[in-house]
Symmetry: C2
């Protein structure tokens, strides 16, 4: 019996809003027919889009609001202006009220974080939330977190990220015991910030059945797929992500202009068109769209603001998977079972230092 998954969509989020969100939902629905949607936003914009997607319309309910969080609002402004009324808030609120299992928004990241935290609150044992994303590697996909939700953090914060990230990896990649690495500037024991070395000790001491701690991973280890889950605090996670994205864009630009530089290279391009097509497919950033806000009493997925319907559909897929495979239950089980371990870890850590 297929499980029904109810997804609340902020139909006004992102650079474009309903004209990306609604067709994106339709694409995801074709992959997961047991989904139902709440489409939240300006019904005058949603309904005409919905008219083009009969199957989606049949499983959707539109909740009208004309309050929208802008892409430029600061989190505090968004909370002041959009609390209890904006499409973003109402999507999150549907999760809180149990009317939806997950909320997906392509809106302003800071506002989404603030509203999700304010409305849903953090899980017991979690002080601050994180954003986790899928990173395509040579070996397959990995989960990297935190991509920028929380700057800094102590060893326990990093250990909690490891627990939550491995729950997400087990859900998304169907892994029994994902490997987990801590991002660091060297693989040697004595390198890096003290909190990273402490987190390594905690993870080693916990020796969890749900994750296998494999040690430090350097920046170039992420793309090599050195671990299924790469853990770091939000500042360096964001820097790593954007440095990698920027490099990928830079290289594809160079490649494009190299292939256009002479008649010979243009002929070469024509011959190798399928290869270039496969390359583009492989590098398609839309396929890794969908960052998951972790550490909250509810599942919220952040889509890139500038994506198209195909890209938004991937973010909806991520939301679907998180619910379908019980991400929150898994995280809670690990935190409760091992909340003990997390809590008792300071002793182990003191013994070492």
């Amino acid at each position: 019996m297929p499980q029904r998954v109810r997804i609340a969509l902020d139909a006004m989020g992102g650079d474009v809003g309903a004209s990306v969100v609604v067709p994106g939902a339709a694409i995801s629905l074709s992959r997961h027919p047991e989904t139902e949607f709440l489409l939240i936003g300006d019904s005058a914009q949603i309904e005409p889009q919905l008219a083009n997607h009969a199957r989606l319309k049949a499983v959707s309910r539109v909740i009208h609001t004309d309050v929208t969080v802008s892409m430029h609002d600061k989190p505090s402004q968004a909370l002041r202006r959009g609390r209890k009324s904006s499409s973003m808030w109402l999507a999150i609120d549907a999760v809180k009220k149990g009317e939806a299992d997950v909320a997906v928004s392509a809106g302003n990241t800071g506002a989404l974080m603030a509203m999700a935290r304010f409305n849903l609150h953090t899980l017991p044992g979690i002080d601050r939330p994180a954003i986790a994303g899928v990173w395509p590697t040579t070996r397959g996909d990995s989960i990297v977190l935190d991509l920028g939700a929380t700057i800094g953090g102590d060893a326990h914060h990093l250990a909690a990220l490891a627990v939550m990230g491995s729950a997400m990896a087990s859900v998304l990649f169907n892994l029994k015991r994902p490997t987990v690495g801590l991002l660091n500037i060297g693989v040697e024991e004595m390198k890096g910030h003290e909190e990273i070395r402490e987190a390594a000790e905690i993870l080693r001491a916990m020796n969890l059945p749900q994750l296998e701690y494999v040690g430090f991973v350097e920046g170039d280890g992420i793309g090599r797929g050195a671990a299924d889950v790469i853990v770091t605090e939000g500042y360096s996670g964001n820097i790593a992500l954007k440095a990698a994205e920027g490099t990928a864009r830079q290289l594809t630009d160079i490649l494009r202009s190299a292939m256009a530089q002479s008649w010979r290279s243009r002929i070469g391009y024509l011959f190798a068109r399928n290869a270039f097509h496969a390359l583009r497919e492989k590098l398609d950033p839309r396929k890794s769209n969908g960052g998951v806000l972790l550490g909250l009493r509810g599942v919220v997925v952040k889509s890139h603001g500038g994506t198209d319907a195909e890209g938004f559909a991937y973010a909806v897929d991520v939301g679907y998977e998180m619910v379908h495979y019980h991400l929150l239950t898994k995280i809670n089980q690990m935190l409760n079972r091992d909340g003990g371990a997390l809590a008792s870890a300071p002793a182990a850590q003191e013994a070492i230092s």
Copy 2:
């Protein structure tokens, strides 16, 4: 009248040693004929190499030692075992004694940092050294620092990095007033670590004639060439560098296998061979070889350990440029002139917070 530049080479450094270092020096000499070399290491390995390079031999002096710092030595081990005797130490010591203007080593980074700091000491006003490197961007080259010498640091450390990095950029790129950005996870004023926001205030308040502070730069701004100099502490700088290097390697691997996947793509590759050749040239990591240790009373250049003679020659070139255009004098002038500004900055900063 060309200025004579005297370069001390750790001939044992790197994965290979003299068989890369000596031919590398010969290549650099062909570009800068007014160079003289001290080649320090096992003369039984250096002399046979030197026999193949008559011009280099004519301007070189060999200093024999059979003590070598291994690539795996911890800094403390290297200092204990190799102080006053190893090729790495003696190269740095030649700078200290005024027998050379710059030392270049492809050896173990941690050991090189430790020995350079221990022997040369830091400049007045500088607590902790940095490694600065050239980062190829869409717009040309930028300087990024710190690439991993010093983890963390307060606002004054970041401001000092900005001063030293812009001195290096003015020397290497012949710029009067390089633009300087602080690496951050957003371009908005209120984002990021407190010390980064404070450093921004200091740099704005200093308003130096030798550098133009342009604000925060995100991870993807580095490769876009958002500033001539990108400043961050050593942990995130190292993560950014390696994430970018890893992505570049990953993409070229994917491209290579895409071009080999069918007879059509292989024909395409043959037609576009020149374009691929140009691409490879452009992405050649050897051309950005040569990290400069900044903040010391002497110039030391770190080459990649795994590079070849061509790559090592680029690191020697960097050393040459640093001396030829008076890097140390420029840094000292800025620190002295503006050491006052740096020192008085806390007041400005208190006024703001």
